[in-house]
Amino acid sequence: MGRSIRVLASAAVMTVAAAGLVACGSSSDSGKTVTLSLVAYSTPQAAYQDIIKAFQKTTAGKNIKFTQSYGASGDQSRAVAAGQKADIVAFSLEPDITRLVTAKLVDPSWNANQYKGFVTDSVVVIATRKGNPKGIKSWADLTRPGVSVISPNPFTSGGARWNVMAAYGAVSGKGADKTAGVNYLQSLFPQIAVQDNSARASLQTFVGGKGDAMIAYENDSIFAQQNHQPIDYTIPDSTILIENPVAVTTNSAHPAEAKAFLDFLYTPAAQKIYADNGYRPVVQGAGGRSFTTPSGLFTINDLGGWTAVTKEFFDPSTGIVAGIEQKLGVATSSSPSPSASAKG
């Protein structure tokens, strides 16, 4: 019986050890320490790690622990909609929050504050190799023959839609000359050598050596530069303002603490951390890195707002961009699934 006892004992020890490890790892709500889960998109990871540390030094943030999850904005939004626990969600663009509003996971009043729920801004820029050997500076330069462009697929990457609307809005004079804008898109897309699934993947592709220019977010380009990647970027005179939303969830177990963290994000201390990480602060006078404002800056509202734009340009069957992509043989997604609408 000796050996079997030993085997059972070691199995028991392993089980207890494993269980112990799991218990240690999982968040403990002992009543005194509160744990908030932040689900965010990938680029502000460094910023949020510093912001959380700063928050924990304040009276409101003492004894608050955080779990953090970072990934592509759309992926994270879908994960929360599918059940991933979150107290605070921070995404790259508004439709990723709207998805959660529809799923009743975020209150419709999330954007009722003076900043309309947006905690940082950025702009769409044109990134090039260091030194810009081909002299690509404007939207028109991107359609020059022989220029190879990198931009994500706007049907798998919600964020890529910023790029498309920036180009469209700039060339069409904020939507005034629709024909010019659409013609431009028709000449731009054939230049796009690789349409990755996400903005981050596009950045990897460009940095990996493909393409002459990349349509990117300013904060992504700054992030790459801060990580010693040899790229430059030009802010076109006319480009779109990217606005990044943050919200607390309706099913948060600690709504008061989550709100406290949300409020902290608008303080000069947090806004400065954002700025140092390449994001344009929404609060004036926060300090940190300085940014220039392009003369022809416009917002998605100037073009009709996301709902109208999504329908007109990005509907998988009838959208303008869908038509352009299909002519190039790029998939715009399979037919909508019968049960997709059930999830909202």
């Binding site: 798998t156 349409q195 592709t205 050596g209 043989g329 037919s335 019968p338 049960s339």
Partner: protein, 286 residues
Amino acid sequence: MTVVKAPEIPRQQRQPETRREVPARARARAGTGVGLGVAVVYLSIIVLIPLAAVVAKSTDGGADFFWRAVRTPDAWAALKLTLISAVAVALVNLVMGTVIAWVLVRDQFPGKAVVDTLIDLPFALPTIVAGLVLVALYGSGSPLHIDLAYARSGVFVALLFVTLPFVVRTVQPVLLELDQDMEQAAHSLGAGGWTTFRRIVLPNLMPAMISGAGLAFTRAVAEFGSVNLISGNLPMKTQVSAVVIYGRIESDDTAGAAAISTFLLAIALIVLIALELVQRRAARRG
């Protein structure tokens, strides 16, 4: 060393009847019944019910939806690339795997034991690490000054990497067991090396080779992590099916993902069954 072997189904073993055995046998049967029940429940929870859910989801919208999801341009292109690459890789492994197994069994050189152990590395290595490893050597910035990234050749090399052990490890034990008398007899009768191999050794190796090639094929069809990095996942050009499925899941199109998955699984199963039949025929002849 055998990493994967197909388990043979043993014949039932008859136990001698004694007076004491009868109640013991009844208990044994009860115990076996419970054991079978537990095994079936385990398999169901982990494997069967989830896979059934995939098939069910794919037919949610009817046959029409299923075929539309499978035949969207990028999914269809990926299926073609995946299947063609898997067949190509299986064929290369059929040859190279046998060659490597031959060298490992019949040849002697310093460091052979090291090489023999390393053959299994692609099997044990995490696929994302394999991806990094291949991009380092064959992507842009490669010290060999070749760039297979964003190209189908990159996909091919990645698949060759992860399928390396399969044919080698199925052929090796057969070669080890092989009685060399017939080969020596053939030699003494004047047959050359290649003839001896082709007519005496090869028929004995065929079942193992086919089995290994089948494993290589199914692995190649399913591969995700290692191909991800080097292929660049260009839709229509270098995307494999697993990546398309991943993209569909991330786009919240689980039904489309399920449809492509079901199609892929069906093909893998058909090929496996076909290979099993071929292998059985080859075994009977040999």
